[in-house]
Point group: C2
Chain length 257, copies 2
């Protein structure tokens, strides 16, 4: 039987430990091709490169037998997926896996997430896709506990398929494997970031800002990704790219327009 | 009665004719403050600037009495809204209007749209918000036919409010005003871009790509934004930032995880 072809990407860049771990986990499941940004692309949302050129380079990162093909790309995570599907791969991959992100993409973070934009781009193009994130922003984060959950979820997705029009947003709590209670299917928690701009003055006397903020959970539900993570579960949110709020179409039809 | 406070932004940059038209239209309805990117940000999706500094400059673009305050910002459309709400405005605006974009943001384009990311950012922060786009990519596009529809929709939104968790994605066909048949509340059409990478070689012998593509409509429904636009209507799609595909949670709960 042919092994599944797995397109692997991320938003922290091709050298990120989360990606290097993910490649190892995926090599045990299928044939892996990596197309990942040549520099960190966190917070890039679903940006694509339309007013600039794109460069791609075949990497020689690993000389062992059976090492996956790897390509770096000068663009965003969504660009990487487009380039991978259109120019690099010979056939449509069986699945696209993005991550493992250094830091949570639960709740409203999905909107800003480069990791999830790569998965969503694959989904738009008809490729089953999953984004994985570990709730630990550190570059030195320990991805060993992620292995079991990442592999289980990818195998189930390959076996069952992922419903059409949906990609999975998976977040893994920062816990030892034996402390993780299991996997929960969740909805996206309502939350936002309470921005704080840190205003500074440059050595040349020019004012500038750093965008910072505090996460504000506005949702007490026990069926959310934030609840699952806070209670020791891996959260899986089915995420769609039909953004229509179907439930308010009726209400808007009463407007006088 | 106090005039409504309107935060105006876009993704084509502070000098774009679509923004300049929108400012004029909005000045007839309320007090306008502009916070817009200092350079074009098309295709930026919901990117935010977290690994770089942000600059903002108060512009002197218009010396007439009652001219709106205008600020340029070095960041993305989402950054502009965050900065506007947090640092520039003294009170929460009554509404945030983004656009008028040069080019369609209907169907799947909403995912890549900087115009809509600004509106969505405002929505996340609890400010009613609308993104407007004209289906004409030209810098010299004629925005005069947009005036009536933009003003009507903004006035209705101020009167009725916009349902919580929803922002409006409004697209205007490239037609004379008398040929536009009216306004339709729609759902997002299913579509994607069939990518084509235009591969070239630089004068230094290095290969590079331009991302191009053809729009592919995959939806024959007559309740979609693409149908409305093709048939001479202004399309209004209620757009949400809870991306949960609630209808598949049950199915995923049958997975063996």
């Amino acid at each position: 039987m042919q092994k599944p072809l797995i397109l692997v990407t991320n938003d922290d860049g091709i050298t990120a430990p989360g990606l290097r771990s993910l490649i190892k986990f995926m090599k045990e499941i299928g044939d892996v091709v990596v197309v990942a940004p040549d520099s960190p692309q966190s917070g890039m949302g679903h940006a694509i490169t339309i007013n600039d050129t794109l460069y791609s380079k075949k990497m020689i990162v690993d000389v062992e037998a059976g090492a996956p093909e790897e390509y770096s790309c000068s663009g965003t995570p969504a660009d990487c997926v487009k380039l991978g599907l259109q120019e690099i791969l010979d056939r449509k991959p069986d699945i696209c896996i993005s991550g493992i992100n250094h830091g949570s993409n639960a709740s409203i973070n999905v909107i800003y997430s480069g990791t999830m934009s790569a998965a969503i781009e694959a989904g738009i193009e008809g490729v089953p896709a999953i984004g994985f994130s570990l709730c630990d922003y550190a570059w030195e984060a320990d991805f060993s506990a992620s292995k079991e959950f990442v592999q289980t979820i990818v195998k189930e997705a390959l076996k069952n398929g992922i419903p059409k029009g949906v990609v999975l947003n998976v977040n893994i709590p920062k816990l030892e494997v034996k402390k993780i209670k299991g996997i929960k299917i969740c909805r996206q928690a309502r939350a936002n970031w309470k921005e704080k701009f840190d205003k500074r003055t440059s050595p040349m006397g020019k004012d500038y800002y750093w965008l910072t903020g505090e996460f504000e959970l506005l949702d007490k539900g026990e069926d959310t990704d934030e609840w699952a993570l806070a209670n020791g579960y891996v959260s899986v949110v089915p995420t769609q790219f039909d953004l229509t709020a179907h439930h308010v179409i009726q209400e808007l039809n009463s407007w006088d327009v």
